[in-house]
């Protein structure tokens, strides 16, 4: 019989949990009868064993049918039935084709079979046999539902625990960037909000004696695969950002591009997924990369060098009445359709005292919301930046995010959201 306490004690891992529960876990011992038993005997047996819903009928140790309590009682209650069938074999009103399963059958396969059997199997239960087809016991639909719900909850718990901890790792991974930002800047904010606890967005900041390098990165995908990509990118970026090329963000992008394409094998025509190719051969081909803005900021020289891969820069000078959007280049980094020798442009921007610089991934701009269910858009974003300009940076982020959440309303979040700003 199903012991829910023992079930809950289990500490199986995600891959084991499926195999730990099989049809045998649901097995109950039940009274049985044989074709030699009469219908009267079955009536007596059902009267004394109130818990029995399905009564197995065995012949030479094999199940040949299952008697359903209600059907049997109803049939026997009809006029003349007791006289006609009472002393005859009990098999007259049994279900001759109950579901019979091997004790080793997985809970998943069993569930599908029970559902395919319709209400009958869920109600009457099913017969469990050994490898030789000999009867072992019965299982009930109720126990099956209990175990399936438990497995579902347990799998969710294991996945969520795993992702929650992955999120701790991903956050701590960005700690040195946060520390460097805090050292390099006084008036700034960083808002990182992955859609699924972990994600493909990430930020990077490294302080040097003559300035700092800052990047906002949107890797392909979100969730766990997106987070994997951020780790790959971060490892490359750490290697690439040596003393000299920090002043050359475009050069750093080109190096990243080469590294990513080589590492993920995204270099040849072969990697382009064929349109006519069947469904079977494209699963191991990746086309991953990142959209990003790489910036070198030198406060001493009052300048910044920006190179963008599909990630614009938003600027607001002290006397400006409008946000200036500096567009980067149209190619992402590392993708199959970005050539190995692609070069990005460095754009030099003069930074005057009081100038604000903002970077965001497309998660804010592209989010669907509002009464028309259309994208948030750059115009709305720029209008918000202007409205909030008087506040310290740290106070701007919550105000802008509040407007964003209101716009999103009941719409599903479409992507990871990252957003940073600093004032010189």
């Amino acid at each position: 019989m199903l012991n829910m306490h023992a079930v809950k004690e289990s500490r199986a891992g995600l891959t084991e949990i499926e195999s730990e529960y099989i049809a045998r876990s649901l097995m109950r011992q039940s009274p049985t009868v044989t074709p030699q038993n009469t219908s009267f005997e079955v009536l007596d047996l059902l009267a004394t064993h109130h818990e029995v819903i399905g009564l197995p009928v065995l012949e030479n140790g094999r199940a040949i049918g299952l008697i359903n309590r209600n059907i049997f009682n109803d049939e026997m209650a009809k006029p003349f039935r007791r006289d006609l069938y009472g002393r005859k074999s009990c098999i007259a009103f049994m279900d001759k084709q109950p579901l019979v399963v091997n004790e080793q059958m997985s809970i998943q396969e069993l569930s599908f079979k029970v559902i395919a059997g319709g209400g009958k199997t869920l109600n009457d239960g099913f017969i469990i046999t050994d490898n030789d087809g000999m009867y072992l016991g019965i299982g009930t639909g109720e126990d099956l539902v209990k175990v399936v719900s438990y497995l579902q909850a347990e799998k969710n718990r294991l996945v969520m625990e795993s992702i929650n901890y992955a999120s701790v790792i991903q956050k701590s991974f960005m700690r040195s960037s946060r520390e460097d930002m805090a050292e390099a800047l006084e008036d700034y904010f960083i808002h990182w909000e992955p859609r699924d606890k972990v994600g493909g967005d990430y930020y990077f900041c490294k302080k040097f004696h003559d300035g700092f390098f800052i990047a906002l990165i949107d890797c392909t995908g979100h969730g766990v695969p997106g987070a994997f990509m951020t780790l790959i990118m971060a490892a490359f970026l750490d290697h690439i950002l040596l003393e000299d090329n920090r002043h050359d963000p475009a050069g750093a992008l080109a190096l990243m591009n080469q590294k990513v394409k080589t590492a993920l094998g995204q270099i040849s025509e072969q990697n382009i997924v064929p349109i006519d190719g069947g469904k079977h051969d494209h699963h191991d081909k990746s086309d991953d990369g990142m959209d990003t803005a790489f910036c070198w900021v030198s406060q001493a020289e009052n300048k910044m060098v920006y190179a963008g891969a599909k990630t614009p820069l938003f600027l607001l000078g002290l006397g400006d009445t409008e946000i200036t959007i500096i567009e980067g280049d149209k190619k992402g980094v590392g993708y199959v359709d970005t050539p190995m020798d692609y070069t990005w442009r460095n754009q030099e921007i003069r930074l005057d005292k009081g100038m604000s610089v903002y970077l965001t991934t497309d998660g804010i701009i592209d989010q669907i919301g509002g009464s028309k269910e259309i994208a948030f858009g750059k115009k709305r974003f720029c209008r918000l930046l202007l409205e909030q300009r008087a506040k310290p940076m740290a106070a701007q982020a919550p105000a802008i995010m509040k407007a964003f959440y209101e716009y999103q309303g009941s719409q599903r979040r479409r992507d990871d959201v990252s957003f940073l700003g600093f004032r010189i």
Partner: protein, 131 residues
């Protein structure tokens, strides 16, 4: 060949390829869990149709309000197929529907216009609130 239709879901657009009328449309949003799995059959159908169509005026109505980066790659492949056909065998009109306030979709469309010059591109502003 037969027309091709896929109903809209929360993560994928309606695909209504009326090949018999040379009228194709895509409506909704595109951020399927696996963009390859969703788009490859769509692209396969389109390619087959274009391979067997000559001297026609094909109209493509594009009405997406959101697509993620994986879907964007697939859309580029799709417009590439249309562009190739438009530069050799057929006349292809791409009607790019966007809400009057949707600068994001309009801007993306302008990029498509610049990148696929053989397509007869028309940006069409609508007011979705009135719809």
């Amino acid at each position: 060949m037969h027309d091709f239709y896929l109903a809209r879901t929360s993560h994928s657009p309606e695909i209504n390829f009326q090949f018999s009328r040379h009228h194709l449309s895509m409506t909704g949003e595109a951020y399927p869990e696996n963009a390859n799995d969703f788009f490859l059959p769509v692209l396969g159908q389109l390619k087959h149709y274009l391979d067997h169509t000559d001297g026609q005026h094909i109209v493509f109505d594009f009405r997406l309000t959101y697509f993620n980066s994986a879907a964007t790659k697939m859309l580029y492949t799709l417009f590439g197929l249309l562009n190739e056909s438009a530069s050799t065998r057929n006349r292809i009109t791409l009607n790019w529907f966007h809400d009057v306030e949707d600068d994001t979709i309009l801007e993306f469309g302008e990029g498509i216009q610049d990148d696929f010059l053989a397509l007869d591109f028309h940006a069409i502003a609508e007011d979705l609130a009135a719809a």
